[in-house]
């Protein structure tokens, strides 16, 4: 059980984040580059001094600025799998895993035997005598994880565990990681590299933007009710903030208005829309049942498999998703004027508070 509230100051940058995680839970930390995700992990591990706040792990206070408690990293029972693995270059794979056991005073022979068992469990027994330099990315990641787990931590921190891997190894390691974390009795905290990683690994997600927590919840919560444009972008939705002023009319911050299914909602609201619910036309549709027709030029085009995402400079701006076939048939290209039709019932709204 981890209960943390940390304040870290690094020059101009301030991280102020609180989070909790129960035993056996996996919390994924998601956020744009430079949001302070790694800093948060480092603070929890005691590698970064706190300017304020308190960290409690399984009932033991390991950091408390108010009372001056600061347990050194080596006595925190916090494991860390670094983004660059940091396997000791002078030790073989098996000795890397045996390292935490040796530090605890376990004999070389016994430490090595348990390390070999750990390697066996990860399915990489064959690399026991290999030095880190000669390991593949996937093998190094497994050794790093086995080494962190060998220290028997109460809290396990993983910093973008999949980002240094190629696509093939990534799928493989993701499965391994999910199984290992499920078996792990303590809490784990993962900084995620992309949405798929975040949504597939975590029971709970914490979104950090510019040093602050902007949303917490289950993966389903984030997909259903993104609280910020960043989260909406990660889960691939159009996102607008505005005010509902009666009769399902949303006045959007920054200009424009949309007719939407507002229910009884009034006041500050958020509206989201699936890009695939938007219909694009090369000419102005004269007869349509859609209550919203937006006009703008194509800003950018992004291919994702059989689908194509088209950004329009309309007011408000929208991102539409069309099939590759429609894309070709309509001859969509940047700069081209287009009309987007959106049904009011496809726009979902919820309170911004």
């Amino acid at each position: 059980m981890i209960d943390a509230d940390v304040l870290v100051q690094q020059g101009q940058f301030v991280l102020n984040a609180a989070l909790t995680g129960s035993r056996g839970s996996t919390t994924v930390i998601l956020g744009p580059n430079g949001a302070g995700k790694t800093t948060l992990l480092r603070a929890l591990a005691g590698l970064e001094p706190l300017a304020g706040g308190r960290v409690v792990l399984n009932g033991r206070v390991i950091d408390d600025v108010a009372t001056g408690i600061r347990v050194p990293t080596s006595r925190r029972d916090v494991g860390f799998v670094f983004q660059d693995y940091r396997l000791f270059p002078h030790l073989t794979a098996v000795d890397n895993i045996a390292f935490p056991l040796r530090c605890r005073g376990i004999s070389a022979a016994r430490a090595r035997r348990s390390a070999e068992v750990a390697l066996e469990a990860m399915g990489i027994r064959s690399v026991a005598a290999t030095r880190p330099r000669a390991l593949s990315g996937g093998q190094a990641q497994r050794v790093a994880l086995a080494r962190a787990l060998a220290a028997d931590p109460l809290l396990l921190l993983l910093d973008e565990p999949l980002s240094a891997l190629d696509a093939e190894a990534r799928a493989d390691v993701r499965t391994m990681l999910r199984d290992e974390l499920r078996a792990f009795a303590g809490s784990s905290l993962i900084v995620a590299h992309d949405a798929l990683e975040a949504l597939s690994l975590g029971d709970q997600l914490v979104v950090i933007e510019a040093g602050r927590v902007t949303q917490t919840g289950t993966p389903a919560d984030l997909v259903r009710r993104p609280a910020t444009p960043y989260v909406a972008k990660v889960v691939g939705l159009n996102f607008w903030r505005g005010r509902i002023e009666g009769r399902g009319q949303l006045a959007i911050d920054g200009g424009g208005a949309l007719a939407c299914a507002a229910g009884g909602l009034r006041g500050p609201a958020i509206a989201i829309l699936r890009p695939s619910a938007i219909t694009l036309n090369a000419v102005q549709p004269s007869m349509t049942s859609a209550r919203n027709v937006l006009h703008g030029n194509v800003i950018s085009v992004e291919h994702a498999g059989e689908r194509v995402r088209v950004s329009l400079s309309s007011t408000p701006p929208v991102v539409a998703e069309v099939s590759a076939l429609s894309f070709v048939e309509l001859g969509i290209a940047p700069g081209m004027p287009m009309w987007a039709s959106v049904k009011a019932t496809d726009i979902e709204t919820y309170s911004a508070r």
Binding site: A45, G46, L47, P72, T73, S74, R75, V78, G79, F80, F82, D84, R86, F88, P89, H90, F99, P100, R102, C103, R104, R133, R147, A148, A150, A151
Partner: protein
């Protein structure tokens, strides 16, 4: 290389002169080596004593430099304390200080009439004009070489691995012993070789602090200098021994530099 065209003569000419200046004296030395009489000259008692004494004292100095220099370098790189910059400058001072000044300073610190002389006398320890004094003088001038080499290795090796060790439950001492030390071992070796070479050639501080007593404080450089007046052939033979020792140290250092560095 070809894309840069021919190297300019304004650089090539001085380079050749500089290289020649460094190389020619060695030819002068080698030309005078009495190859046939060499075994006899090197078998001479004075020469054997000086050689043995030099090897022992230079080895002791290199060992002392490692024992005290590695912790010193670690503190200078890995910790923050008031006056760290000043300490750092003082540690490297002997690199540029004339060795004879070092010898005078040692004399007035640890000599019989020096600052700590009475204290040492009470303890029945006499350092000046003894073999121990030779080791002290050599350590004084050679330890900075080791400190600089190890400092370079430590600052080049960022704290990534030390942080990793801490997250695995290693306290500061275990981290140093199990992670830092093995990682900087090649640089310690290089620093020790440099310190050994410097100690082997030490002249000024040694003759000032320890004197020139054959069998006790007369090291190879001292014996060479004395022999130059009495027996020039022996001086050449002794110089040859020192030259060979230097070449061996250089070869060891190249070996270290040519090997890929760990962690890369």
């Amino acid at each position: 290389m070809s894309h840069r065209g021919r190297p300019p003569a304004a650089l090539v000419a001085p380079a050749i002169v500089g290289f020649g200046f460094l190389l020619l004296p060695l030819f002068g030395l080698l030309e005078r080596v009495p190859w046939r009489g060499l075994p006899g000259l090197l078998g001479d008692r004075v020469v054997r004593d000086a050689l043995g004494l030099s090897l022992v004292t230079a080895s002791c100095s290199a060992a002392l430099a490692v024992i005290f220099g590695v912790p010193l370098a670690w503190l200078l790189v890995r910790t923050e304390f008031p006056g760290r910059r000043i300490v750092r400058s003082l540690v490297t001072l002997p690199l540029v200080l004339p060795p004879v000044v070092g010898g005078v300073a040692l004399l007035f610190a640890f000599g019989r009439r020096g600052l700590f002389g009475p204290l040492l006398e009470d303890l029945h320890i006499s350092l000046a004009f003894s073999t121990t004094g030779v080791v002290l003088a050599e350590t004084f001038v050679s330890m900075p070489f080791l400190v600089v080499a190890v400092e370079g290795a430590l600052s080049g090796q960022d704290e990534r691995f030390e942080e990793a060790a801490a997250t695995l439950g290693a306290g500061p001492w275990a981290t140093f012993r199990r992670v830092t030390l093995p990682l900087i071992a090649p640089s310690i070796g290089a620093g020790a070789a440099l310190a050994f070479a410097r100690a082997l050639g030490e002249f000024g501080a040694t003759i000032t602090f320890a004197g020139n007593l054959p069998g006790r404080t007369q090291t190879l450089p001292l014996a060479t200098y004395i022999a130059l007046e009495t027996n020039p052939e022996a001086a050449v033979a002794l110089s040859l021994v020192l030259l060979v020792a230097s070449i061996i140290v250089l070869a060891l250092l190249r070996e270290r530099w040519l090997r890929p560095r760990p962690g890369q």
